[in-house]
Symmetry: C2
Subunit: 430 residues, 2 copies
Amino acid sequence: MEQQVNVGLLGFGTVGSGVVRIIEAHQEQLLHQVGCPVQVKKILVKDFEKKRDVKVDPSILTNCPEDIIDNPEIDVVIEVIGGIDETKKYILTALKNKKHVVTANKDLMALHGGELLAAATENGCDLFYEASVGGGIPLIRSLVEGLSSDRITKMMGIINGTTNYILTKMSKEKASYEDVLKEAQKLGFAEADPTADVEGLDSARKMVILSTLGFSMKIHLDDVTVEGISKVGLDDIEYAKQFGYTIKLIGIAQRDNGRVEISVQPTLLPHAHPLASVNDEFNAVYVYGEAVGETMFYGPGAGQLPTATAIVSDLIAVVRNMRLGVNGKSVILPQFDRQLKEKDEIHSKYFLRFQVKDEAGAFSKISSLFAEHHISLEKLLQEPLDKNGMAQVVIVTHKTNKQAYEEVLIKLRDLDVVYEVKSSYRVEGE
Amino acid sequence: MEQQVNVGLLGFGTVGSGVVRIIEAHQEQLLHQVGCPVQVKKILVKDFEKKRDVKVDPSILTNCPEDIIDNPEIDVVIEVIGGIDETKKYILTALKNKKHVVTANKDLMALHGGELLAAATENGCDLFYEASVGGGIPLIRSLVEGLSSDRITKMMGIINGTTNYILTKMSKEKASYEDVLKEAQKLGFAEADPTADVEGLDSARKMVILSTLGFSMKIHLDDVTVEGISKVGLDDIEYAKQFGYTIKLIGIAQRDNGRVEISVQPTLLPHAHPLASVNDEFNAVYVYGEAVGETMFYGPGAGQLPTATAIVSDLIAVVRNMRLGVNGKSVILPQFDRQLKEKDEIHSKYFLRFQVKDEAGAFSKISSLFAEHHISLEKLLQEPLDKNGMAQVVIVTHKTNKQAYEEVLIKLRDLDVVYEVKSSYRVEGE
């Protein structure tokens, strides 16, 4: 029997409790897989008295991070407290003290992943973060190892459970965004402050992590164009349905000729597209490789035990590396400088809904505007509105470039016959 | 620059050519990932003159396997010739000569995986086989690493592209099994002798590999109950559709209370089940873990470049391990003795279609038979047939155990009112 591996846990909330539960429940299996016992030795908590769904010896609780990150007995630090600046300091200290780190912190990895991974390599330590994207789906490992021989050209997916839950409910129950959000908050599917989820920031951070790995480029959060779902209305969902589409919050990272675009936005997908039937809080990511073609990874994107599974799988990888003496050797730094596409290099279809004055010549003015910018229309619906003399126009364009489309959008708003542009979304998957 | 890694390729068919293409096309990327050049040094061929879709220096071709497996210059052997007994000898010799091995050979791994992995470990060599199941989908890696901390309870999937192509075409085009098979052979989606695919043996071998890994038990090919698709008729597909189901060839491996069942058979899935919309030659596997819940992996199950991608990803893993000096350390032998379920422990629904004499009391005899065996019926359809005085009966049972169901099936065939039992399939995914 080899020497025990001691784990220090930063944070003892939902996910932290899940980690403790899995490590306890799987002692025998862990022993078989890594050849030595693994034990949680210290846990950083804010509140000693808080009720938790796992029981631990109270003597291992501490409110002092140094008891973990400076503790020579601790071999591996698992970080599940979230936050950025202070947490970054903890992790850097832990690495400096030659402790391996497993984190679920997408915010931190998206912002400071490069610096943290460099510090890990420098100190001969592992830093794993499978749980930071896609919860229990082994997505990062698949990108780094399973598809390592391929050249990835596109990643497209649903990577935020809260927004997918909201859009699924809105679509199925014809309930308004506000009502569904409230219900989701009550059920614990949405945070009290849901901004990071519903405005797409959470997804954007995950896209930074995925595209940095998939394209081997250091992508910055600023490189991601972000739009959330808070303005998606039931009307949009219904008109999209009528045209054969489902609206999802989709992260897209695409590479063409060495240049990339990364974005997160409400996107229309044909009903038959596999991502269109990924419902509720589930996540799924399509990965397109030059050689492999298309693969998809589907699973729970969050939740106590799925996230804890990804963390403990990382822990197992750390302990295996410890036994082999190869920690800190698996990081591959980005190979390419990042080259972002200009707007006129980003091509897609668009769905556009606006209201016009229902008068002679109105549509001719509009269609000339599109024609001038060489945007042709694939689908078109015009119907009278209840409002006095107004009509609703819904359009799906053929593929066009973003530059031209945005110019049209600005000019459209200025047309005297146009009353209001209600919504505009990207269309993918055709 | 570190010393070059030399690869010997056993076989230069479709997949072998793909491997050479990927290694050549990705030299720069490979160099970045593994830190040293990787080169194909020798290729075993049968026919020196055969036209191939990649050009190589003719001097590296050989028809003598010893030029590779006994060649001190070769570091890694990639086996893509297929076959069992002779190929096994080649691999064992290569391992004895301290060469790492990457293979796509599911037949060999299903039958002799245990022995080969033991030989690899003994000789401090890697033996990787990601391409043996699910082509380009990084499935084995996900089971071994990504979900290593979880306890897998069920795997269910479409793992044979040929049969999925045939069933998809039958269902969409209402074409007969024989016609679609002929077309598939013409297009290269089915072999000249399609027996191993259509009779389920190929899927069974893959289920042996998946369940050995997923359940950490040494599963034998004999442990798998196998039924192919050659008897699936258009009538079955149509009646299934009418009841809301799609017929797929499904491999199932399920563990309950430490006891397992493994099977491959035509299976009815509700249209809304994600596996029901996995079409054409695509593969997909659902993995259920106690903690993670359900995850799914989808992608091309075969084909030159997808398979070659999996092989070269394994090659990269081997070379990384060489650089770290940890080859042969990653094999984890099965932890548990295998415990197979008895028939009365295997629970599922069944779809059953049979023809009866359309006479008074006929259905009462049939329903009493089911009732005696405590099998209740969920869905039922009876309709007259064109034949004289005959009726078609289609039934979906509630969940029952296999023992009881098979007894009923035998007795049903003996009933004087039953003319013929046409088909009987498992129903899953509800």
